[in-house]
Symmetry: C2
Subunit: 211 residues, 2 copies
DNA sequence: GTCTATAACTCGATAGAC
DNA sequence: GTCTATCGAGTTATAGAC
């Protein structure tokens, strides 16, 4: 009953423990802690309900592991980019590029994080979030400097960061509504979201162009 | 047991029925259909669990009423603005203004809609969404015309609409994460979000300025 | 390690007194 | 209309055989 002993090659490990974890990952992301049922997780993993408890003891513990892995997966790449010492323009391009790629590969993760954090804030902050989150100070300073140097239009650095993230993340989070309002089918929406990278980058740079 | 007979002056009606509705509203918005419990709703309303069923028969029916009222509350104002024949510039200003006001008054609503729509899509589309959603065609056409006339930079109209909505909505949806990453306290975050209206408007117009 | 069976519990819903 | 008491379905969790 060692849930903590992760084998090195996570990806192609089809041990029972891993199968359970993968099934749980899928269902928790889709339905949240309350919506996902242990029976369904067991079914999807192709094993018996009792085994879930054998490997992970409780639903909460299983959830905790899944949520942690989700959070810890995306953070380093964001962190590396935002905290790097690349020049501002390059940094923005890279950030948008990596971030949208990351979300396209895991489109349900942002909504999972946001809504679970709203529903179970204590649990999330205490048990799941890492000690060290990406620190935006370097980026904010770079923006200030660029404003002072006149290479970009005067903007509040924090609002700018928030704008960039909003433009990257929100369309994926609100995808079902977007499809309805813009009258898109699934494939059209896929196509449309694929264009976001260039569209967002252009939009941001246009907004930063000094007068 | 008439849940449909809403008294005209909804707001200052502290009938039992209304108290239940308000408590349910608060909890469903916060925790969603699965997370909210009837016992908790009863407690918050200061009445007994049995009364919930007396007035609203089932949890699903109660949820349906709450969700409908939420959806139907915001739509007309969005619709009026986006479908109006105001000139493009004014329309964008008004849209951002109304939209951010609406969300500031009901900061949990967008996340509620998005996540419930993801978790219970059939129920939401069939029972809760109104027959007629806001139609963006007029707006999209206006953008095309403005691009053709050279009054704004060439942009894809659909992406522009999505950008505007993203900039308005996302910061409120992701507020807890924003607070953590930017290291803000509640009051600071309030203050910061208050600035979004002008910040977003400026950002959009800067991005649309023709070269 | 994996399964069947079942205990223990949560929660939505109902019965019935007042 | 409102309450107490309780039922019954669905879920998490455990016991125990293999």
């Amino acid at each position: 009953m060692r849930a903590t002993e992760m084998t090195p090659n996570d990806k192609t490990n089809d041990s029972t423990e891993q199968k359970i974890f993968d099934a749980a990952h899928e269902l928790f992301v889709q339905k949240g802690l309350d919506g996902a049922k242990m029976q369904e997780i067991a079914d999807r993993a192709g094993i018996n309900k009792a085994l879930l408890h054998y490997y992970y003891r409780t639903k909460d513990k299983l959830y905790e592991m899944v949520a942690k892995s989700i959070i810890h997966q995306g953070i380093p790449i964001i962190q590396k980019t935002i905290e790097s010492d690349l020049p501002l323009e390059e940094k923005i391009i890279k950030f948008v590029d990596f971030y949208i790629d990351l979300i396209r590969r895991n489109p349900f993760i942002p909504l999972f994080i946001i809504s679970e954090m709203n529903k179970h804030p204590e649990q999330f902050i205490e048990k799941i979030l890492p000690a060290r989150l990406p620190r935006p100070e370097i980026f904010l300073k770079q923006v200030e400097d660029a404003v002072a140097a006149g290479t970009i239009r005067p903007v509040n650095p924090q609002h700018l960061l928030l704008n960039i993230i909003s433009l990257c993340v929100f369309p994926f989070v609100a995808r079902p509504i977007m499809q309805m309002v813009l009258g898109m089918q699934k494939t059209e929406a896929d196509q449309f979201l694929k264009q976001r990278k260039t569209e967002v980058t252009e939009f941001i740079f246009a907004a930063l162009r000094p007068r």
